[in-house]
């Protein structure tokens, strides 16, 4: 009998909603109680430093190329010893969609996402973050990683002095 089945379905539905009336609401009263996001939550972008305190960013433009909304811009420069850095680095957070592609593209792990999501502002121009606003004194999510210990040969270290690097081989001695 379809009538009995339909009535049963309605009664079951009504009973379910009745039970939910007395269930504790899942709502968080936002400004008073704050939800702490997980560490890998994708919110405000920062520029990190390596363990030695130097800037990780080598101004390779990969993040700005990866950015789907083109909100990252920078100007590269090089120190006298040949180490590259960003002369200025700008992220327009009013355009950023927090997709995390920049952090994925970064070869030096300089650009990283943090769980700090409260960056809303009344003046839209305050959402344009300059390098001083972005740069933090810390290593972020990968505290041991130092790009110039793995690469940057001939710039900050001698050949063969890198961490996972074998000493240079004399090609003339490689004869079989």
């Amino acid at each position: 009998m379809s009538v009995i089945n339909d009535t049963k379905a309605i009664v079951i539905g009504m009973w379910t909603t009745w039970k939910h009336i007395f269930r504790r609401p899942v709502t968080l009263q936002y400004p008073e109680e704050k939800r702490i996001p997980y560490p890998r939550y994708r919110a405000r972008i920062v520029l990190t430093r390596d363990p030695d305190g130097g800037e990780r960013c080598v101004a390779c433009y990969l993040c700005s190329a990866a950015c789907p909304v083109d909100c990252i811009s920078m100007q590269s420069a090089a120190t006298e010893e040949g180490r590259r850095y960003a002369l200025w680095f700008r992220i327009n957070f009013s355009r950023c969609i927090f997709c995390g592609l920049c952090a994925e593209a970064c070869p030096t792990m300089a650009i990283q996402m943090t769980p700090d999501f409260e960056i809303c502002n009344r003046d839209i121009m305050n959402l344009v973050y300059e390098k001083e606003d972005l740069l933090i004194d810390g290593c972020g999510k990968s505290p041991e990683y130092n790009f110039y210990h793995h690469a940057g040969i001939g710039v900050t270290q001698r050949r063969g002095a890198g961490l996972e690097e074998k000493p240079p081989v004399d090609v003339r001695s490689l004869m079989p």
Binding site: I10, G13, T17, H20, I21, V26, T27
Partner: protein, 329 residues
């Protein structure tokens, strides 16, 4: 000639009923939002005052200060008239509902009813059929296709469900042997009519659910399909007349369900007026609960349900009731 004290008492009752209905309608909006919130594991409005009790006031301020907008090409007079035509009949019906036992004040019998009309039940049917015009004209005068679709749906739905509603009330009249609501309530002193007429009660509840255009019968204002139906183009106070009219309708139809089937103001221990309010609020709670549970029906299902299920059932119920009354003598 008329007794000036009688007129004063009647005016006082009208004022009282009007204020109570308006307050109840306003707080029913809040209650609905709260209850739907709890059903959906949310909290609901709780920012304006403790537990959000000043939310209706905030809503009223917002609606009063909004722009009164008229779309280009709208039929001016009908557009302005329609919200009133939707809200006023609902309030008028309350004039015949007895909401308490007659009182004796200063040696004068005061009935807890604005007007004890001898065709009270028919007045309810008449005014609920007049309320159709608000929906129809509002949608038509807006000069918008969504509003027109909503009002055509509303017209068809309201006149169809009026029939099943009217037929479900016939057994009540047969049992009470009167159209007068005070006599219908009086006939239920011993036993509520819901005991004799469970089928008529179910048909009546389903029909009034459709009459006040609520889920699962809210196809005239189906948000997912036709924006907001017949009141798509309305804003500010005119929209709120439609909106509050719906909640007034819930209060009034709850009162009528209590009067016809749940014994009116009869009940043990508590004072009669309180019993009446408890019954009205119970019906309103049921409406909100149903809204939180059931999905919207499809248009053809809605029409089929009315014409092929409810109306024949109501007719059969009338026949069965008549037979039993004849047998009993």
């Amino acid at each position: 000639m008329f007794d000036p004290i009688d007129i004063a008492i009647t005016l006082g009752k009208i004022l009282l009923v009007f204020m109570v209905i308006m307050t109840m309608a306003a707080y029913l909006v809040l209650a609905e939002r709260k209850l739907l919130g709890y059903i959906q594991d949310r909290i609901g409005p709780n920012r304006v005052g403790p537990f959000g009790i000043w939310q209706p006031l905030a809503d009223a301020i917002k609606l009063f200060t909004k722009e009164d907008f008229k779309p280009a090409g709208a039929d001016k007079w009908l557009f302005y008239l329609a919200p009133a035509m939707a809200a006023i009949p609902a309030i008028m019906i309350f004039a015949v509902i007895p909401f308490g036992a007659p009182l004796t004040l200063f040696g004068r019998q005061v009935t807890m009813q604005v007007s004890d009309l001898n065709v009270g039940l028919l007045l309810f049917v008449a005014f609920s059929s007049i309320a159709v015009y608000g929906v129809a004209l509002g949608g038509w005068a807006s000069n918008s296709k969504y509003a027109l679709l909503g009002s055509i749906r509303g017209l068809a739905q309201l006149i169809s469900y009026e029939i099943s509603m009217g037929l479900s009330l016939v057994p009540v009249v047969m049992l009470a042997r009167s159209f007068q609501l005070s006599e219908i309530v009086g006939a239920q002193e011993g036993c509520w009519f819901i005991v004799y007429q469970p089928l008529a009660f179910i048909i009546f509840m389903i029909s009034i659910l459709a009459e006040c255009k609520r889920v699962p019968f809210d196809i005239p204002e189906a948000e997912g399909e036709i924006v907001a139906g017949y009141h798509t183009e309305y804003s500010g106070m005119r929209f709120s007349l439609f909106f509050v009219g719906e909640y007034i309708n819930i209060v009034v139809l709850g009162g009528l369900a209590a009067t016809f089937f749940l014994g009116g103001w009869h009940g043990p221990f508590l004072p009669p007026v309180l019993w009446f309010f408890i019954k009205v609020l119970a019906v309103a709670f049921l409406f909100i609960w149903i809204r939180g549970t059931l999905p919207r029906m499809r248009y053809d299902q809605l029409m089929m349900f009315c014409w092929k299920v409810l109306t024949p059932l109501a007719l059969l119920n009338i026949l069965a009731t008549a037979w039993f009354i004849l047998l009993k003598g």
